[in-house]
Each structure stands twice: as C-alpha cells, then as structure tokens.
Symmetry: C2
Subunit: 416 residues, 2 copies
C-alpha cells in the first residue's frame, strides 16, 4: 500500500518540477503555433461556426474544437512526464512503485477517453444521455485505482454534527458512487457555463490555478505525493490551454469546442480524486455548482429549454442582453412555476407575463444561467466585459472563498 | 514482480472468459445497431466518401470512419472487463495485483490514444510524419510497463547461429527500440494494405483470430496470465469489428477509416508486447510485412507515389485492374531503377516503357502494393473476388504458415 512520504521535497522532485514547467512552456508554444497551421484543416472538416454575438457574425468562419489541439499536446507532454517521473526507478535494482504508476495511467486513460468523447461530440453532435453516461464508464478505472491503492471509504464528520451522527462514517460503495458523480459533474459543469468568448477556457485556467496554488501550499515543508501528482498535471494543463485563451478571448479567433470542456473537467476530476482533495476541488467549482443548480429547471425541462441559452446581441449598442425563452403560462406545471417564482424572487432570473391577441397568457423569462443572471443585474454589457465579470466571480467564489473555507472556516468543523 | 501461474485455468478465469464472450456478442449487436443510427450524423459531419471502384461511384455517399464506433464500444467493454477481471480482488483483505493492473491500463491508454489519433486523422487529414511519430509516443507507457514488470531484455539466439554468436544476447535499450518499432509498424501496416472493400477489417479479423487461436493453444493445460490477458482483448475486438466487416463487404455500405486501422494495429501491438509473443505476432503480419517491403520504393519516393494506389475499375467488365503510375524515365534515380527491375523480375510489379511524341521515354508501372500484384497475376477481378483472394493470402501466409513455423519449424531453432 501507498506510503505518504512526509520528508521535504527532494532534489529529484525539484528537477522533475522544473522539467515539467519547461516542457509546459514548450507545449504552450507548440499549441500556439499549431492553431494557425491547422485552421484550414478544421474549417475544411466543417469544424467551424459563426460567432453569433458579433455584428458581422455571418461573415467570418471561426475554427471550432480547438481544445483538441491543447488536449493532444497535453497528452504527449504527460507521456513524457511519466517517463521522467519514473526515471528514478529505471535501474533494475530499484523497486518499481506500481501503485504510483497506476495512478498516472488511470488518470491519463480517463482524460484520453473524455478527449475522444469530446472530439466525437464536436464532430458528430452526440445526444445528452451519451454525454452523461460516458464519463461514468470512463471513471471506472479511476475507481478501481482508488480501491487498489486506498480502499478507505470512511469520511470524518464535521464537529457540529458529531454529537448526533458520530465521529466518522464508512460510506462503503456510496463513496464510489460519490466519486463517479464527481467525474460526471466535472466533465459537464464547464460545458454548461459556456457560450461567451473566453469563458470556458478562462474558468478552466482559473480553476487549474486554484488547484495549483492549493497544491503548492500543501507541499510547503512536506512532500506529499498526491500534491506533486496534481502539480505534474496542472502545470502542463495551464501551459497548453493558455494559448487557447489568448485566441478565444473576445473577439474570438477560435472556438474551444466541447473537447476543451470535457478535457479540463476530467483533468480536474482525476487530480481531485487521486490527489485526495475532491471536497476541496468541489469548492473551486462553486460558481459551476451554482450555475448547475440554477440550470436544473431547464436541464430537466420543468421550464422549456431552447437549444442555445447564450446572451443575445443588441447590434445597435454592440452589447449583450440576457436571452429569453417564451412559452404559454398554462403549459407550465406547478413545480416549474414554483422554480420560476423562486429564482425570480432571489433575482437570478427576470420574467414577465403578457397577453397574445387571442388572450393566451404568455411568459417570457431570461434563461437560467448565471451568464444571463449577471446581465440581469448589470444591464447590457460588452462581451469582453461580461467575460471579465464572470471570471472575477470565478476568482472570488471559486478561488478566494474556497481558500477562506479551507484554511480558516475549517477550524470550526475539523481538527487541524 | 509478476509470477507466472502454471496451474490449470480456474473457475474464476473460466467465468471471466464466458462473461467476455457474452459482452462481446452484446457489443457486436450494439455496434450493428449504432451504424445505421449514426449514419446521418457522419455524413452531416462530412465524414463520407465515394466508392471509387463502383460503376455508380458518384451517386452514393458512404459514411466514413465507422471504425470509431467499433473502437468506442470496444473501449467501454474493456472498462467493464477490467472491473470483472479484478473483481476477485475486491475485498479489503485481498492483495491487489498492481503489476497485472498496470498492463490493462497501459494497453487501453495506448489503444485509446491511437483511436483518438485515427479519428483526428479521418476528420483533419493529418500529415505522414504525425502518423509515424504519435504511435511512438503512445507506446511510451507500454515500454514503462514492460520495464516495471519484466525488464528482461535478453533474447535467446536460435541454435544454428549459437556457435558464432553465443547462446543469448542482452539487447538492453535496443529491445525497447524494437518494441516501439513494433507499435509503429503495427499501427501503420494495416493502413498501407488497404483500399478494397472489406480488406482492412477482414485482415484485422483474420489476425485477431490467429492471435486468439494461438492463445487458446498456449492456454491448454496451463493458465498463462499473458495469454488470458490477450484473449480478454481479442474476443471483444472480434465482437465489435465483425458487424463492421459485414457492412464493409463489397458492395460496401460503410467505410472503416484510418480509425479502424490504427485501432486494430495498436490492439495487436499491445497484446503482442505485454503478452510476450511479439515475435509470433509479427509472423501473423507476414502479408503486411511483404506489402510494406514492396511499398518501400514508393513510400520513400524512389519511385513516384500517387495519392491513391488502389486498383482501378474497368467499368465495362465491372472488374478491377491494377492501377499504374507514369513518369519520365530520366527522372528515375539508379536506386529507383534497381528497385523497379528487382520487383519486376520477381513479378511483383509490371512495367512498360513507351515514347511520347517528343521522344521523351516514359515508364508506366503498376503501383507497389500486393493488391496490385495479385491483379497482375490473375488478370482483372471483381472486387469481392479480389478481397477473398487477399484474405486467403492472409490465412495462408498470416495464419497457417506462422503456426507451422511456431509449432514445427521452431524445433530446429530452439529447445522446446
């Protein structure tokens, strides 16, 4: 079974980290070079779209699914990294750390599967059920690895509830269900909070940076293999996706595609699960969780859900308004009505009723995403401003708040 | 380190095998169902082609890259299989066999990477250098696994050369170079012997069946984990690709794409390498090796290489003729001329010289593939007949001959 080394970071780990940073920079440069080279190939393969939120939207074909370039280079970098990380053990007398090695392999397998799924989704436009099912199957190796290396499914309960529920619970199989759910949630969460230039890749980079900072803090003084493991993934991730952010920033020259969303989601899920900080990692997803909860009425069709929920351009102002969906009031079921009233009461959506000429009462409500919520609060915004605000929200609620919870509030709930 | 169990196959292995067969059948049925369901999606995504060797070639759009459906279902089946294979160890007191587990993970990782590359190649039409480089990188985890579990790089030399060269050689790093080369060769070999309906997937199934038979023979009486490992991969492989063969058979309703060629090639490479029978496996590739050697003059541009080298339809007879490439005699370098004369002397190509009206001497030669060679020998053939002959060649030289070598001739070269 795995041993946690608590010694200080040794020279080899430091060398590996420096090497990781160097190849990540090289990887970023390669991604940056490849994007213009491959552009025509993507457009010829019908992987392109119009940017609906631009005045000249129908004039420029923008290459889609560019996330696959970042993901491909990321995978190559990680293959090289594996060889480096385990080069320490490449003499016959050394005892090869199989338990550590399976974590890298399972992590990359799950990520590679999700990149394949994402790219297939971009090309073929798959159904919702497939997108929910496949991360579940792709997380199977992860769960087995968790079992093989730790198989502890006991959680420590927070102090306030201990008098009622005891000190710890053994969740058993439920813990594995929880980890599967984390994979499914992460791979889809970023895809749901999307539709504005720079947002998908921007939030991914903010989350990756939060994880990176967290790992660095945890590594101070002691060498935790889990946090090194996570670092080895996060540094190339940031390296490979940064050029994507630069070119996807408003006005976008490229689109990232579902590939990038699944790729980043699964990468975060694997480091969270195998690095043993899935709870902390979910804190970095607070904005995505909020957006998911807000989306539930539309995702589960209590309220009609149009194909696209991204904001709508006001061409005169060149600013974005929240997009709306309209439907007959009588078609709304009681639960849908309750949800509409609730989210309207807490100001997350804005709706209005009006009468058609045949006296049919209609409802028009802003779509249930925090992108539209921000526009409800601020009024019309330029697209780049909207992205900046959304990324600021990510930094406040997905970075600052989690660190406050993790390092300050935690005292009231757990022993140090 | 890994122990070879030499006990008879136990009940659990038998249960696993039966389960493997059952899910492979289910997988085949699912692939068969998915093909017509997804057809429109592929055609809409521009993943289609004309069948150039049909009279009505420009009338029917045929969906391309259908190999990705087989590969996707195969990966899902294998994820389930991993869970079953290791379910034996799913109680906390059992010692989890990490060394066995990394083989499954590395194998699936390499296969998944190649499926991703193949699909990206079908969609984006990548360059040759990429196709050669990426299998090399994708085989890195395999090599590390080989190192971790065996790290023996000693080969036993055949009896006749022992007086000169000694009993055994330690190849050291060269052995790893050899294994990388096997991966690169296998992933590309099937792609080169292609272009006729049913041939790519047909030869893959023949090779898979040869491997399967070999594993079954080796398993008789003793339970070798390597051969069980290989069986667990080959059975779902045949299950998932069989429906592809049915629909890719002349006249093809679907095309398999590079995806299928890379997918099958890498699957064979991983079971050969991790199952420790890479030499025997290469025997199953004798027709592909012959085709590769024959292709060298064109692949390395000693002789001009047109984009497509598949046979050409004679529309009146509805039969295929060998395709030709024409060039000026004076452009041919001495080495190219030597190759042309050599392959013509052993009747693998047929060339003729003729004069243009400006007295320029031209050469027209059949293209350097065994598909065209067969047509040189037999004269014009119907496409289905050609595929049957090529698969017969695969069975004779890629199944029967290897078994003869492996179980009869081997006595003269090695101790039993």
């Amino acid at each position: 079974m795995k041993q946690n080394h608590t010694s200080a970071i040794d020279r080899f780990d430091l060398f590996t980290l420096v090497f990781d940073i160097l190849i990540s920079i090289v990887g970023g440069i390669i991604v940056n070079r490849l994007i213009p080279i491959l552009k025509e190939k993507f457009i010829r393969a019908q992987l392109w779209g119009y940017d609906l939120n631009k005045r000249n939207s129908r004039e420029v074909k923008i290459a889609e699914s560019q996330g696959v370039i970042a993901a491909g280079i990321f995978l190559i970098l990680m293959f090289i990294m594996i060889a480096i990380v385990f080069s320490e053990h490449l003499h016959p007398l050394s005892d090869f750390p199989h338990n550590k090695f399976i974590e890298y392999l399972a992590a990359l397998l799950s990520i590679c599967c999700m990149v394949l799924l994402g790219f297939a989704d971009d090309v073929l436009d798959l159904r919702w059920s497939v997108k929910l099912m496949l991360p579940l199957i792709a997380s199977l190796p992860l769960l087995l690895v968790y079992f093989a290396n730790y198989h502890s499914t006991t959680i420590i309960l927070p102090k306030p509830v201990r008098p009622l529920l005891g000190h710890q619970w053994n969740l058993g199989i439920l813990y594995y269900v929880y980890m599967s759910m984390v994979s499914v949630f992460c791979t889809n969460a970023i895809n749901i909070l999307a539709g504005v230039n720079g947002l998908e890749v921007g939030q991914s980079i903010v989350i990756a940076s939060s994880i990176l900072m967290f790992n660095l803090i945890e590594l101070q003084g002691s060498c935790s293999e889990e946090h090194l493991f996570s670092l080895y993934f996060m540094i190339p991730f940031i390296g490979c996706t940064f050029p994507i952010l630069l070119r996807n920033w408003c006005p976008a020259q490229i689109f990232v595609g579902d590939t990038l969303c699944y790729f980043s989601g699964m990468t975060f899920a694997v480091v969270g699960i195998l690095g043993h900080f899935s709870k902390t990692m979910l804190l970095f997803f607070i904005p995505q969780i909020a957006n998911f909860l807000l989306s539930i009425p539309q995702l589960f069709h209590f309220i009609p859900c149009p194909r696209h929920r991204l904001p709508r351009l006001n061409p005169e102002l060149n600013k974005l308004n929240p997009s709306e969906v309209e439907f007959k009031k009588k078609d709304l079921k009681p639960l849908g009505w309750l949800m509409l009233r609730f989210f309207s009461a807490i100001k997350f959506v804005r709706y209005r009723e009006y009468k058609m000429h045949d006296n049919e009462v209609m409802i028009a409500t802003t779509n249930f995403t925090i992108i539209n919520t921000v526009l409800c609060w601020t009024g019309p915004l330029h697209e780049a401003t909207l992205t900046r605000i959304l990324l600021l929200i990510q930094i406040i609620f997905g970075t600052a708040l989690p660190f406050f919870i993790r390092y300050y509030l935690v005292k009231f709930f757990y022993e140090s």
